[in-house]
């Protein structure tokens, strides 16, 4: 398990670092919202899910896409705007999808995928399927009315869904305390009668275990939704490849504890050196290949502009 976790974390971290590295060349012409520092949430949750389970994310979902099994080559190609991308280059970083992996889509508008996830879960429940859905969103999304409307409905109907709030403390450059009178996202879920737990410290094992337990409880269809508030921290700027601790809205010292408890570091240290080396070598090769694949892939044809507006009969 530790190895799997480490591989997944390392892979995501390195992919995003590579994205950040090439970004200043402007070869990627799509806004990027990196998850560097937050990978444990996606990995912890997705490792606890089944392949047939389904997730919905936000514009900040490279990590979730990879953690859920999304195709790496298609991700990088999508960022490069190539026709081999997961959305043929039409979506870019903010509109990822990989239906084969149960990664059902992300959106650039805060909060919009939360009800989609519940609708999907409703359909699963109605069809008697065993799968569940996880809906990922940020601490800012709970300020959107749709969050409440959706939780109310999800609880009312008892649909098999996990709400995963990735609380990184900020919405763009505004701290949670500037936007919410209380630091109590779990309470906001409990008023709908659903169990809600906060998981502190970006702790990947805690996340994995608690989500694993919750998902098996709701999988049978008899128990309704759950919410997890996973405390984490974004290391880079809101959008773009850089750090921004000098911008004034937060300090490097606030980030320091998160740097130190970085699960990638602690898990890495716990691995046998050779195993770890092998994992890293494998992952690096895969990443290199994915970037080469993306670079070499063609852009979509001009005619692609007019396809995919409608599904033809």
């Amino acid at each position: 398990m530790v190895e799997n976790f480490y591989r997944a974390l390392y892979r995501i971290r390195r992919v995003e670092q590579e994205i950040a590295r090439v970004y200043p060349t402007d070869i990627i012409k799509s806004p990027i919202h990196l998850s560097i520092g937050q990978e444990a949430v996606s990995v912890g949750v997705c490792e606890a899910l089944q392949p047939s389970d389904v997730v919905f994310g936000t514009y900040r979902s490279h990590a979730l896409y990879l953690a859920k099994g999304g195709d790496l080559k298609k991700l990088i190609s999508e960022l490069y705007g190539k026709v081999t991308g997961c959305a043929k280059g039409k979506g870019g970083s903010m509109h990822l999808i990989d239906t084969a992996a149960g990664f059902m889509g992300t959106s650039a508008v805060v909060g919009t995928t939360i009800p989609l996830a519940v609708g999907y879960a409703y359909a699963l429940k109605q069809s008697g399927k065993d799968s569940i859905v996880a809906s990922f969103f940020g601490d800012g999304a709970v300020e959107e009315g749709v969050f409440h409307e959706t939780l109310n409905f999800a609880a009312l109907k008892g649909v098999p869904i996990l709400f995963i709030c990735e609380n990184n403390g900020y919405a763009i450059n505004s701290h949670q305390s500037k936007r919410q009178p209380m630091d109590n996202i779990c309470e906001r879920a409990r008023v709908y009668g659903m169990p809600a737990e906060r998981i502190e410290d970006n702790d990947i094992f805690e996340i994995y275990e608690r989500v694993e337990r919750a998902s098996s409880e709701i999988r049978n269809g008899r128990e309704g939704p759950r919410l997890f508030e996973c405390m984490t921290y974004r290391w880079r700027e809101h959008v773009g490849p850089n750090e921004d601790f000098d911008a004034g809205y937060r300090s490097r010292s606030e980030a320091q504890p998160w740097f130190e408890s970085d699960p990638l570091k602690t898990l890495g240290a716990s691995l046998e050196i050779d195993r770890r080396g092998q994992i890293e070598v494998d992952v690096e090769a895969e990443i290199y290949e994915a970037f080469v694949f993306a670079e070499e892939s063609p852009f979509p044809d001009e005619d692609e502009l007019y396809t995919d507006v409608f599904t033809e009969a």
């Binding site: 999808i97 009800p115 989609l116 999907y120 409703y122 009315g145 409307e149 409905f153 396809t307 409608f310």
Partner: protein, 355 residues
Amino acid sequence: MARMLTYAESIREATENEMARDSSVMVLGIGVDDFKGVYGTTTGLVEKFGTDRVVDTPISEDAMTGVAIGAALAGLRPIHVHIRMDFLLLAMNQLVNIAAKGRYMYGGEVCVPMVVRAIIGRSWGQGAQHSQGLHSFFMHVPGLKVVAPSTPYDAKGCLIQSIRDDNPVVFVEHRLIHYQKGHVPEVVYTIPFGQARVLSEGSDITLVGISHMAAECLRAKRYLHDMDLRAEVIDPVSLSPLDIDTIAASVEKTGKLLVVDTAWTACGASAEIIVQVTERLGNAKTECRRMGFAPVTCPTTKNLENHFYPDAQKIASVACRMVNGDRVSTVVDRIPDFSIPPEVSPESVEFRGPF
């Protein structure tokens, strides 16, 4: 003898047919399971198909639209019912940013087969927020289909077509036609999108009437007939895609086009139809006019409301002046009454109580 149903019954029948045929079809919306059954359009469905497939929803238009889209992504075919089109203003983000764009922005990986039934609320006294026809918003956005049948026959065929379509369809109804009766075959049939219907032929002017205005145009035709003018009346039925061929062919014949909408005209469906016709016919000599809601908020009091809406008399007045070549003022909404007997449309006369 022809089988007669009301528009509302026809919608109910289409829904029941499809729900029985395809277990992925579901209905959701505020009050879809209650004893009034949204003007009778959903009556009996919950008894037949159960509360999982006929879902009374909380008053949460934004989320419930997202839920419908999510269910569609998972393979269901939701029909989301809104007793007033005005409430879609709360659902614009989901409709425009997700339903319309889902397929395209995910590179064709998914489809969103859902129907949004939106009822234009006019009866009397519905006022500012319960009377709007906002179909032009949905015509503006690529990725949505928009259909507005005006007869019980078309209502059934178009609704079945909408349900079976793999794309999001905004299905525009009008409260004043829900109780109108018409021939509706018992057999299941579909009506393809993008085909306008020539309701009545004529040679002097083309009247295009959207939704309830199709009926008003037919009535206007009778007035015009008394003045020896032959109007061709066309119901576009489907607004997006739009059958501009049929309309343009008619205008080529008549040389005059009057489009009447049950909505505002600025950036409206009426503007779109006129521009498409002029684009099609190049700079041939054609005179085009539009009528719709007066360019104000809908007033509640009946004597102002009467002036807010186009009706057969006003349509006939404008049409008559267009044909007779009098220069028509550009403010077509304020035409003084023409010398036509003051009959009113039966829908509005028969209407009692806004329930």
